[in-house]
Point group: C2
Chain length 426, copies 2
C-alpha cells in the first residue's frame, strides 16, 4: 500500500489567480475565502466571459435523476467525463450515485485523488503508463475499478501486465454493433475474448457486460441491442464465467437512459444482476441535443412523465457585447474557446445592463449565427435596445465540450452571488 | 506601483500531477526535475493521449517567421491566444518579437504575470473587471498595452473608467468591413469614435490603426482594405490626432500576413509608422487550413518563396489504438477532448508499435472519419498491420483549438525524449 502516490492535491485545492472567468484576488484562493470577496455577477465582479453554474438547477437535476433511478431500483454511475469536476462528483455521490463513470486512466486518477472510490471506466485500458496509473490506484484495497475488454489482444496485454505485477483487474466485456464504436460484434469475437480471459483468469476478473447504446439512433435497434445484451449475460452466466455476484450490467448515455432502464429492469436474469446506468449530461443539462432527447424521454417514459418537472439548464456563459458595428449584428466576447459549438451554437437567454435591477429574457429573434475562436456574431434587429457593455447570458448545447474550456466555474445562487467555485481537471 | 498584485506564479511554475498526457510523478514537478525522470514517448512513459511539441520544428518555425518579418523590416507581435503558453511567448520574444498579441484582459494578465511587457490586445476592452485587470497591470510603468476601439460608446466607457482612476489607456482605432467582425464600417462611425476620443483625450490615447483582414477571404478585397487603412492612417495623422510617434499600424492573422506585409510596407505614409503583424499559428503550424494558406503564401510571395523551406507541423497528438472491431475500422483513444475538429479532423501521420525501433509513416489510406468526445474512428484497410496497443501520431488542423484542450504539453527532441513541458493558461 503506497497510497502516498495518489494523495495530492487535497480534496478542495486552492484556486489559482490565473483562471479566466473569475474576479480578482491576489494570492491563491483557499476554500472558505470566497465569501469574503463578495463577488456578484451582476455587479460586474467577474471577468467575462465566464461560465457559471446555477446552484438551484444543479440540485434540482441531481434530485430528478436520483428519483428516476430509484423508481427503477437501478444503480447510477454518472459519466464524470462530462464535467471532470470532482466537486460535482461529490454532489453526485451524495445524491446516491453508486460510483462515477470515466473514460480514461487520467480521469480515473483525478477522481481517485479527490476521494472517489468506485470507478467504472467505460473504455478500454490501453498502454503501459495507463495500466501503471490504474495499478497504483489498485494498491488501495478500498478502490473498486472496472474497465472494458473487447478483444483477445487487449486481454492478453492486460493479463501480462497485471499478472506480472501480482494484481487482479476487474473487467466487463463490451458488446458493440457493426458500424459502431468499440465492442465485440459477433459470437466469434466474443468467444475469442472469453478464451483469452480463460488464459489470464488469475489476473483478469470478468465481472459483467457493458454496452453503449448511444452509437445507435433508433429506438428499435437500441431495444434489440439491449435484449441481446441480456441474452449474452445469461449465456455467459450459464457458463459460470462471471467472477462477481451480482453480475454487473451497464449501459446508457444521456439520450436513451430511459429505454435502457426499461429493458434491463424488465429482462429476466438467471443470476443476480446489478444494473448500472451512466448518463452524464443531466447534471447541467443543455438546450441542444440533450434537451431534445430529454423531451422525448418525458413523452415516452411513464416514470419520467409522472415526475412533473424536467431537467433544467444549469450552465450558462455570460459575455459582453463588445461592438454593435451593424444595425443587425452584435459582436460578443465569447468564442469557440468558451462554449461548445459542435451540436448547436450557444443560445442567448438573458440580457443584463449593468446598473439595472435584474436580467431580462432576450427577444426571441436574437441568435448566435457564427463563432470564431474568441468572438460570436449575434443577430439582432435594427433598433433593438442593445449596447456595448451589456451582458448576455447564453445557454449552451453540449455540456461536455463546454466544461473542458474552463478550469474554474463560479457557482451562483438565485441572487447571482458567487457562493462557490467548481474546478475542473482535464 | 502595487505590482505585487501581478506577481504569482513565478515565470516557471511547478507542474501538477493531475494533468493529462504526462508520465507519473508523485509531487508537483519543479523545473529542472524533468531530466531525472527520463521520459521517452516511445518507451510508453507518457499516459496517452498526449499532445507533444517537437523542439526542432518549433525552432525552425520561429526562425522562419523572424526571417520573413526582418526581410520586410516590420514588427512581429505573434497572437498569443493560439497557444496561451508563456514559455512559447518567451521563445517568440527571444526570436525577435516586438510584443505579444492577445485577445482578452485575462490573457493579458497571464502574459504579464509571466514577464511579457508589451501587449497588443487586438480586441475591445469591455467591462468593469476587465478594465480593472488592465488598470492594475498599467501600474507598472514598464508595461506597454494597446487595445482597440470601434465605437463612441466604448470610448465613453473606457474614458470614464480610466479618467476617474487617473490612468491613460493607449488605443488603436479598429477598421472593419460590412459583414465582418468588429471595427468601424464607414466615415460616420469613424468620426463618431474620433469625436469621443476628443472628449476623453486626458485618459484615452490614440496610438494607431488596426484591422483584421482574416474576416475576408479574397485577396483583392483584402488589398483594398489594406490600402483603405493606409489612407485612413494618413488622414488621421493629417488631423494630428495620433498621440504616438511612430504611429502604430497593425494587421495580419496567419493566412494573409504576406499580403499585409506587402501592402503596408509599400504604402506611403506622411508620418513615421511602425507596422506590426500578428500571425499566431506559425509557431506550430498545422496540416489543415494554415498549411493550405501557407502554400499559397509560398507561391505568391517572393520573399517567402525564396526562403527554401516552409513552416513545419510542430504539434502532434499521440494516442493508442484501443480496438479494431471491424476489418476496416480502428477505434483510437483520442477525441474532441484532445484535438481540434472544426476545420479538418486530425490526420494520422506516424505509426509506432511499442518495442519497435522507430515510428514509420502511416499508409496513405488511413484517415480519421469521425470524432466523439473521447474517441476517433480511423479508417484502415482489411489486412493492414495494425493492432490494439499500437501508437498513432496525428498531425492536427487548427492549433488554437487543440492547445486549449491541454494544460501541459511535453516537448520532444529528435529521439522522442521529453526535454521540457510547456504549460498553458486558458
Amino acid at each position: 500500500m503506497k497510497i502516498e502516490t495518489c494523495t495530492p492535491p487535497s480534496p478542495r485545492t486552492s484556486i489559482g489567480s490565473l483562471n479566466k472567468g473569475l474576479g480578482s484576488f491576489h494570492h491563491d484562493l483557499e476554500p472558505g475565502e470566497l465569501a469574503r470577496l463578495g463577488w456578484n455577477l451582476l455587479h460586474e465582479d467577474l471577468s467575462l466571459p465566464t461560465a457559471v453554474l446555477y446552484e438551484d438547477s444543479l440540485l434540482h437535476n441531481l434530485d430528478w435523476m436520483r428519483r428516476f433511478i430509484d423508481a427503477y431500483g437501478l444503480r447510477l454511475a454518472p459519466h464524470g467525463k462530462t464535467t471532470m469536476a470532482p466537486q460535482l462528483f461529490a454532489m453526485q455521490l451524495k445524491a446516491g450515485a453508486w460510483g462515477i463513470t470515466l473514460a480514461t486512466a487520467h480521469q480515473t486518477l483525478v477522481a481517485y485523488t479527490h476521494g472517489v472510490r468506485r470507478v467504472l471506466m467505460a473504455n478500454q485500458l490501453v498502454g503501459k503508463e495507463n495500466m501503471a496509473i490504474v495499478s497504483r490506484l489498485l494498491q488501495d484495497p478500498d478502490f473498486e475499478f472496472f474497465s472494458l475488454v473487447d478483444s483477445a489482444a487487449l486481454v492478453d496485454q492486460l493479463g501480462a501486465y497485471f499478472l506480472e505485477i501480482g494484481q487482479r483487474l476487474c473487467v466487463l466485456v463490451e458488446l458493440g454493433v457493426m458500424g459502431g464504436r468499440a465492442g465485440v460484434r459477433d459470437d466469434e469475437q466474443l468467444n475469442s475474448v472469453m478464451d483469452a480471459l480463460s488464459r489470464w483468469s488469475q489476473a483478469i476478473v470478468l465481472c459483467g457486460v457493458e454496452l453503449y447504446e448511444g452509437v445507435l439512433d433508433d429506438e428499435t435497434a437500441i431495444r434489440a441491442l439491449l435484449k441481446h445484451a441480456s441474452v449474452i449475460t445469461n449465456k455467459i452466466a450459464a457458463e459460470r464465467r462471471f467472477q462477481r455476484s451480482p453480475i454487473l450490467l451497464s449501459g446508457a448515455g444521456s439520450a436513451w437512459y430511459d429505454i435502457v432502464a426499461e429493458e434491463f429492469s424488465a429482462a429476466r436474469f438467471d443470476q443476480a444482476v446489478e444494473i448500472v446506468l451512466r448518463p452524464g449530461c443531466y447534471i447541467t443539462h443543455d438546450v441542444g441535443a440533450y434537451r431534445e432527447a430529454q423531451s422525448k424521454i418525458l413523452e415516452r417514459n411513464p416514470i419520467a412523465g409522472q415526475m412533473r418537472s424536467d431537467l433544467l439548464p444549469a450552465l450558462k456563459i455570460w459575455a459582453y457585447v463588445q461592438s454593435v458595428p451593424e444595425a443587425e449584428k452584435a459582436i460578443i466576447g465569447m468564442g469557440k474557446r468558451d462554449a461548445a459549438f459542435d451540436s448547436g451554437l450557444p443560445v442567448p437567454a438573458l440580457h443584463f445592463r449593468p446598473g439595472d435591477a435584474a436580467p431580462k429574457a432576450v427577444p426571441e429573434h436574437w441568435a448566435v449565427t457564427k463563432m470564431m475562436d474568441q468572438h460570436a456574431y449575434m443577430r439582432v434587429a435594427a433598433g433593438d435596445d442593445l449596447r456595448v457593455g451589456d451582458m448576455i447570458g447564453f445557454d449552451i448545447c453540449h455540456p461536455c465540450l463546454t466544461f473542458d474550456k474552463w478550469r474554474a466555474l463560479p457557482v451562483l445562487n438565485a441572487q447571482y452571488q458567487v457562493i462557490d467555485i467548481v474546478q475542473t481537471f482535464f
